[in-house]
Amino acid sequence: MRLPFTRRKPAPSKAERYATATQLQLTWWRFCRHRLAVVSLIVLLLAYTAAIMADFLATTDPHQTNAATSYIEPQAIHWFDNGGFHPFVYGLKGARDMRTFKLSYKVDTSRKVYLDLFAHNYDYSLFGFRTDIHLFGLRNANRNDGIYILGTDQLGRDLWSRLAVATRVSLFIGLVGVSISLFLGVILGGVSAIYGGWIDILVQRMIEVVRSMPTIPLWLGLSAAMPSSWSVTQVYLAITIIISLLSWTDLARTVRGKFLSLREEDFVLAAELAGASQARIIFFHMLPSFTSHIIAAVSLALPAMIISETSLSFLGLGLRPPAISWGVLLQDAQNVQTLVLAPWLLTVAVPVIIVILAFNFLGDGLRDAADPYG
């Protein structure tokens, strides 16, 4: 089979460009040959764009509850109507069967509700501008109509709209969190390796203690300690920080380990002999030679971070309703009645998995690309 990319010498045409290319350019060119990674990158860019535009993508207010639309299963959009392209959905008639106590919805084919692009719905602010324009919406809708692409939850809220908002929350928690822990990790790891001695011991103890703590109790304790008067945003930030406080250790260890092993390497000795300053050695000789490992570690840290938010919100220790995040949405699926009566609530897992996959492939691609042996 064909290699998706390789580290071999370049084609004649490119010869000169390669000869003069910087390490960064080379990395980028190599990365571009890693198809999976490129695809992932695009997926992630899309995901984050969607996250930023969440309210624009939402079709109805993600918080709007309505008993009459409880547990509606995903609804098909019909694209063509009397010959032309007129996307529409049928109205629904819902009732609770008082023998089985199940809600059942019948499609009311007599009533067609048409879709509009850039329809007006609830207000929200995008980049500081207030607007009520949404990517698409319904024209002649009554209170109970909606475009339930992914169905609705118990409170009759549109899952698609909720998912959009949840994505924003969860994706950015991961991003903020990882940058904090990356910072901590590189600084502490580097310092501990370079200065060694008691500093090293101190940092090592810190790492060991933090890592020897099963994280769940830490979480529980800390989240329980959060003043209940805090706003969702405050809780959100606090949680982000907590996650990163618990996950910088891996990065620190990687960095330290690599520093130590590299100190032995000849080229560092050479540089030292050549009288290069320590800083120079670290930043010009050592760091570049293991960016790959840092990138690999980050590529693992980020999804791990997203997962921890998800898991903890799922446990009810992270973000709590009415805040919306992937974890909060999945919490709805924690009981058997949802699994049986509204299995579509599990579809939330799909974007979670896709995004985390993408992050990993991306990280893998970057790792291979940035590899100094290339």
């Binding site: 071999r8 010498k9 084609a11 004649p12 010869a15």
Partner: protein
């Protein structure tokens, strides 16, 4: 003159990459004789190391020996064409070590840090010579002693990182000689060492050669080392030998402009102080971007014109000497 232990003819080692074929070694000829040292010299990237690996059959993917012959006269006395053997065949493995051995650039990196040197030496011995553990160990100690490692019976249980650079290289050599091969490929054996150690290592090699009639392929970019060590020289440029011959002759009368250029770049005591060493104009092109005609023509100060730029100069020569340059005729 006696017939060579190893004679390489038209060796071609290519790397298949999306960017096209890279002809790292292309139509290379050379001979190696018992008890003599062949110096392979050239700027880095000219294919020296690939050539060495080709001979040992350890070219890494996607590299492949695509042509030519590697004729080896074995202990047994029969002649094998290694180029015809699959790299990972048992037959080829039987060559590595007992017939041809390798001494490698960075002594530190060339050892695994996780095993004692004893372990790493005896491994080969036990594999090829089928000796018992104790016998193998005895032999290893003997080898260490031979290469001048002090207190070998103690050192044998030490780890590479516990040895000095010089010692490491000695051990490296000992390991190479473990199954007494007749050909030793020394790939930049002294590059990583300081001058005095360099000298010692070279002496050691010479001494061993004298003792056991070892044939050495000395790969280096350092004409000085060549002058000191080699009997014969092959000057490589872009994957082929542009000039070969006895070291004395070549130093006395370098025939190829490239050889001359190289020689000019050796510092000599006679040179006037504070004068720049003459360097070769331009830089070595990518092997994948090999110029048409004589590969050296773009940098050649004595280029004859289109003939050089269009047609490959054939190898011309009498006796042990041969050169690929139209200055010495052969022009169509």
């Amino acid at each position: 003159m006696a017939e060579p232990l190893l004679s390489v003819r038209g060796l071609r080692t290519h790397f298949e990459t999306p960017e096209g074929t890279i002809r790292a070694v292309d139509d290379l000829d050379f001979d190696v004789f018992e008890g003599r040292t062949l110096g392979v010299v050239g700027e880095s990237g000219c294919g020296k190391s690939v050539a060495a690996r080709s001979v040992l059959g350890i070219v890494e993917k996607p590299g492949r020996v695509v042509g030519g012959r590697i004729l080896l006269r074995t202990h047994a006395g029969d002649t094998l064409d290694l180029a015809a053997l699959p790299q990972d065949s048992a037959a080829y493995r039987a060559i590595r070590g007992p017939e041809i051995a390798l001494v490698f650039q960075e002594p530190m990196a060339s050892f695994s840090q996780y095993y004692t040197i004893g372990n790493q030496i005896t491994e080969a011995i036990r594999l090829h010579l089928r000796l018992s553990r104790s016998a193998a160990r005895a032999r290893a100690i003997e080898l260490l002693d031979m290469v001048g490692v002090p207190q070998p019976s103690r050192r044998i249980d030490e780890y590479p990182f516990q040895l000095s650079g010089g010692l490491r290289q000695r051990v490296m050599i000992a390991m190479a000689l473990a199954c007494d091969p007749r050909i030793l490929i020394a790939d930049e054996p002294t590059t990583a060492l300081d001058v005095t150690t360099q000298a010692q290592i070279l002496d050691l090699l010479r001494e061993l050669q004298a003792k056991r009639g070892l044939a050495i392929i000395l790969i280096t970019h350092d004409m000085g080392v060549i002058a000191e060590m080699a009997h014969d020289v092959a000057v490589m440029y872009l994957g082929r030998a542009v000039e070969t011959g006895p070291v004395a002759d070549i130093f006395a009368a370098p025939a190829h402009p490239y050889t001359r250029a190289l020689l000019r770049s050796i510092p000599t005591v006679l040179a006037k102080p504070r004068t720049h060493l003459p360097t070769i104009a331009g830089s070595i092109p990518m092997p994948s971007a090999r110029p048409a005609g004589c590969a050296f023509s773009p940098r050649c100060s004595e280029v004859l014109g289109d003939v050089c730029r269009q047609t490959e100069p054939p190898a011309i020569g009498e006796g042990a000497r041969s050169v690929r340059c139209f200055l010495h005729g052969g022009a169509p």
